[in-house]
Symmetry: C2
């Protein structure tokens, strides 16, 4: 069969391109990307569980534990623990699992992603009810939606609800007619990802503002004169540092986890939307 020299040049360019790309991404994964991947997974897991354990420890040992409507002060304590569990720990694991778990069928990853977010819903609802009732029951009743923490919290919850409903319909319900909805679903992927990350960062910002408000209240009430209040102050500061570290590590994980194989992932992501 006779063909022109151009074709040979095409083949050469193509093979060089593929070779270079494969070498490049393989090298990158061999050298430091596996280390980076493991570091991100381990650090994120430790921080996501650690922040919940730290919050539980703080509430139980320094804030008197939990109760429902019979003690508004202890009812309030449910708020930080459940909000951290729902908006940070469950949501964080959900994001991480979706981005980092590429070893099982994509539909199962999506279902697990949805399940973790679904677990967050009762936590958030209970946490919201706890603080709402507690504000009404204390003497004198506290005003609602007044501080920066409450403003950010409301925006975060609204974003969470929109994201969950739109994500559920776009990526699970629309699968009933796979081919017809492909372009719509593929256009939704980057929007859903960016909006989800923004939502997580909003949740972290809300936690930090709530923490600082409570810490300032502690400083105002005690002047950190007792040893106990001073230790509590340091625990709360450490929680704040962990929250900020989490906000950073999760956004870096989402941004960098597949960086060496960006092009590959971009293509496979489009194929894997089904």
């Amino acid at each position: 069969m006779i063909i022109t020299v151009d074709v040979e040049e095409d083949v050469y360019v193509f093979r060089q391109y593929i070779k270079r790309y494969e070498e490049d991404s393989e090298n990158a994964w061999n050298c430091c990307s596996w280390f980076e991947y493991l570091l991100i997974v381990i650090l994120s897991t430790v921080l996501l569980i650690g922040v919940l354990v730290l919050t539980l420890f703080w509430v139980i040992f320094y804030r008197g534990g939990f109760a429902w409507a019979d003690s508004p002060q202890l009812q309030f304590n449910l708020h930080p623990v459940l909000m951290v569990a729902g908006c940070v720990t469950f949501s964080g694991f959900s994001i991480l699992l979706y981005r980092l778990c590429r070893c099982i069928k994509h539909l199962y990853v999506k279902l697990t992603h949805m399940l973790f977010h679904a677990c967050a819903i009762p936590c958030i609802v209970m946490a919201f009810l706890a603080v709402f009732e507690s504000h009404n029951l204390v003497e004198p009743p506290k005003p609602h939606f007044y501080s920066l923490h409450t403003w950010l919290g409301l925006i975060t919850m609204a974003m969470f609800a929109v994201q969950f409903i739109v994500g559920f319909f776009s990526f699970l319900v629309l699968l009933c007619c796979e081919n017809r909805t492909y372009s719509c679903r593929s256009a939704m992927v980057p929007i859903h990802a960016s909006f989800g990350l923004a939502n997580f960062m909003m949740a972290v910002a809300t936690c930090v503002t709530g923490l600082v408000e409570t810490e300032r209240q502690l400083v105002g009430e005690t002047g950190l004169s007792t040893r106990n209040s001073e230790i509590e102050h340091y625990i709360m500061n450490s929680m704040g540092v962990v929250f900020v570290a989490l906000g950073i590590i999760i956004s870096v994980a989402v941004r960098r986890s597949n960086a060496p194989a960006t092009a590959k992932v971009y293509v496979t992501e489009r194929l894997e939307i089904n």
Copy 2:
């Protein structure tokens, strides 16, 4: 010239790949990516300038303006304005310019990026000195590095210094022997980018914690009983929302600005390191 059928298949696959890639990225840019790009640029610019104007407005009209050592209270006011200017506005524009400006020679983009960060240095140093002296001069002197805001602030400044020095040597000084340092510099690019974004997010978290601390002080002192203190409370809450929005929009800008042409950018970035 006689060749086997395999080659023809190779050429077909290659041409299909290139065609699909070009169609894909062109479509993506035509449809919504230009809109997204413009939205990010405009929104970021408005927020970066807006937050500085809002801080200036708040300090001048609600905190009594500026002074140096003769009035520790007014000297403190230099701290928020200069820190926001340095750590948020200058740094934010520097990051945005680097990611979004691809129309001029890459070396000029790098120099502008460095220049904006260099402008942030005197602001940060002056802001640090202002708050340090003001804490010493008030009666009774305030303790240093005690609150979450100061912890985060110290980490942010240390990260900024490391990032600036490493970036300056890696991407400008090492250019003196371009070819020998290529692999080193190319390995540094993603680390510098992730660390830079983390630094910006730390700066935003520091601003938000500082703002909430000051707002709680205002609530403690006035109980928001006067009309003036209530308006100031709303201004401070709005500043907090703008800070959080900035943290989100800049990280989305860095993550998404080149998303439709990810593969292309990944290649050009490697070529453009020089």
